[in-house]
């Protein structure tokens, strides 16, 4: 890792503390629920360590009891199709040979992908890895605590911990929409699509639908739209 890479990684670790705490809370829920459904203690923790994906894991947890094995697996995979979009978006920013690039891409999760987005439309890979490391530790550790201790969801609700993720995301979103008018339009359209889909489907499919808002990027850019709303500034 080079000097700037080390700095980016350290910055990522600092940025990752908030999402990691929120991830840990979610993991407690996952671990407790998996234990309650008879998954034992080892499988939920191994699943968190290997898959590192809340949406896919909760989907498998809820669908495995009511659907066939194949249907449950397909549902859990479809939920994460957004990772395909993120992987394609970040591919030009990855460094090294193909195995190294594939390894770096494994650090993609929602919060780290979004925190790695730079002003120049590139992605800072070391920052992304830095954000992901504390999240992976809290996700796996939180699952272990969840299967062993099964904390009350009511206590976590009273502490307001369910707000940690959306509070972190609103701060990132404010940074994003300052960049261009198109970002504002994509944000509004993504919100409307997700809200509409929530009436007919679950949150993961609504989130996938929100990604369709990026297609406005295919529209030809008018001259005045080419001027960024904010040209300076650094993400804190």
């Amino acid at each position: 890792m080079t000097g700037p890479g080390r700095q980016s990684f350290a910055r990522g670790l600092r940025l990752g503390i908030g999402p990691a705490l929120a991830t840990g809370v979610l993991a407690l829920n996952f671990g407790a629920e998996a234990r309650a459904r008879g998954w034992g203690t080892v499988a939920p923790v191994a699943f968190s360590a290997f898959a590192f994906s809340g949406s896919a894991q909760f989907t498998l947890l809820s669908s495995l009891s009511g659907a066939t094995v194949l249907a449950a697996i397909v549902a859990a995979m479809v939920i994460n199709v957004r990772y395909l979009v993120m992987s394609v978006a970040i591919a030009p920013s990855l460094r090294g040979g193909r195995p190294a690039r594939i390894l770096q891409a494994q650090a993609i999760v929602d919060a780290s992908f979004l925190a790695a987005h730079d002003e120049d439309e590139q992605y800072d890979v070391w920052r992304m890895i830095g954000v992901s490391v504390p999240q992976w530790i809290c996700w796996t550790g939180g699952t272990a605590v969840g299967v062993l201790a099964a904390p009350s969801p009511d206590l976590m609700h009273r502490l307001g911990l369910d707000v940690a993720f959306p509070a972190f995301f609103i701060v990132l979103l404010i940074d994003e929409v300052r960049r261009s008018r198109r970002a504002v339009v994509a944000c509004l359209l993504g919100a409307v699509i997700a809200a509409g889909l929530l009436f007919v489907t679950g949150p993961s499919y609504a989130l996938l639908g929100a990604a369709a808002a990026t297609l406005i990027g295919l529209r030809r850019r008018r001259h005045h739209e080419a001027v960024a709303v904010r040209t300076g500034g650094q993400r804190r």
Binding site: I170, C187, G190
Partner: protein, 99 residues
């Protein structure tokens, strides 16, 4: 056995989806049209994440207050972590007061 099969299959699918970009594109740059689309991935997904986190069958107004506080503090140039922490604390306090 069935459980472990599911765990391994879903984990492998996740690895492949995250590896798809470097596997398919290698070191090539994205076509310009795709660049325009990927630039908007972050704002569209963030908006979707916030809506799906706060939405659902019922809307919890105490969550909206906490998220609003975090957003306002960030607009006032408070760094990310204190702003998000203040949002969480506000929601906890509102819930305590309204219990």
């Amino acid at each position: 056995m069935k459980l472990w099969l599911c765990v391994l299959a879903v984990s492998a699918a996740n690895w492949l989806m995250k590896a798809a970009g470097p596997l398919v594109l290698g070191k090539r740059d994205l076509p310009p049209a795709l660049v325009s689309v990927t630039k908007l991935t972050a704002p569209a997904l963030l908006a979707g994440l916030i809506v799906t986190d706060l939405g659902g069958r019922t809307i919890d107004w105490t969550q909206l207050i906490g998220v609003g506080v975090a957003g306002i503090l960030n607009l006032l140039r408070i760094p990310m972590l204190p702003a998000a922490a203040a949002g969480v604390a506000t929601t906890a306090l509102v819930r305590l007061a309204s219990a």
